[in-house]
Symmetry: C2
Subunit: 199 residues, 2 copies
């Protein structure tokens, strides 16, 4: 059963999933502004009003697609952690790799505003990505200092690491806007590792 060929006329079978995949593809092709509910419905093979039953509105679909993005990001972060063999740089580089390979979707993810707080799935997915970074810092700290850092201190270092990775990711995707020659992620961010692990 494909996305655009429903199992029956009034019962798609997996319409929410098909709509989210269609939205993901359209954002990748044409950016957030190029996304429309009706075109998603066409690609899923249903009528224009079908999505409302599952997502309420276009805004509702966008929020769920942003949550999808964080879940996909977590997968790439895990891959990069495994490839790098070192969790802390693996997390950061995975984050950046996701953003540079999915620039338009990445923009959607950080473009969602107040309504996004209402989605438990989005909150969880975003927190999970942040949690990987927090765990990586905690483990690196324990390896260096023999004991766990203070919770408040850990939050500060996590915020610093996330900020730097996030900001660098945006520099990468906005490169025509800000600079024509951006130094590599490693060269820019590796000095930060020492900072994160110093009391």
């Amino acid at each position: 059963m494909s996305d655009s060929c429903p199992s029956s006329r009034y019962h798609h079978g997996d319409l929410p999933g098909a709509l989210r995949r269609a939205a993901w593809d359209m954002v990748g092709e044409a950016g957030v502004r190029g996304l429309s509910l009706r075109e998603c419905a066409r690609r899923a093979g249903v009528s224009h009003a079908a999505p409302a039953h599952h997502f309420g509105s276009l805004e509702g679909l966008l929020i769920e697609v942003a949550a999808d993005g964080y879940e996909r990001m977590a997968v790439i972060m895990d891959e990069e952690i495994e490839r790098a063999g070192d969790r802390l740089p693996g997390c950061g580089l995975g984050y950046i790799r996701f953003a540079t390979t999915h620039p338009q979707q990445f923009r959607l993810m950080l473009g969602t505003d107040r309504g996004a707080g209402e989605s438990p799935r989005l909150r969880e997915a975003a927190s999970a990505a942040l949690g990987r970074l927090r765990e990586a810092i905690r483990d690196a700290w324990i390896a260096r200092h023999g004991q766990s850092p203070d919770d408040v201190f850990l939050e500060e270092r996590t915020a610093l690491a996330w900020s730097a990775a996030h900001g660098y990711a945006l520099l990468s995707i906005d490169r025509q806007l800000l600079t024509t020659s951006l130094p590599s992620a490693w060269r820019v961010l590796s000095p930060l590792i020492e900072t994160l692990l110093r009391p």
Copy 2:
């Protein structure tokens, strides 16, 4: 002559400026998705097709409004530099202050994509903001080491500083999404100053 009261029926007097101010206000009120060309035209007191003559399309208006954003950001960075008495933290804190006081406009600024590279005014405005940070790092380096840093090295440190400030700014405005308790900008970012100035 106000924005919505043209000096004559077929000659507004400053229509481009009025449209950009209307767009700025609408983005602030309802986010990028809440902006429409026709509503901007209504607020400026002209017909729906008038903006096309100045901006070509909605996309063209968005790009110019993003450039406005960077110019306003530069003003706030300069104010914060003066208030802090120290350029490097002043730049960073000014950047963050702008983002947290204009979250929706800030999102517009980083939401612009490929077409934005075409606007010399946007490129210049964005580069000027980045240039302030580069100058602040260079000056702080000279104060510490007695001579200017290598250009490549300076670009790396500038990218690191921008990334961290930018990332923290986004954490601030997305706070319902990622965390309910974000440590202050100073506590998160001040360890970075030492990193920026170490060879």
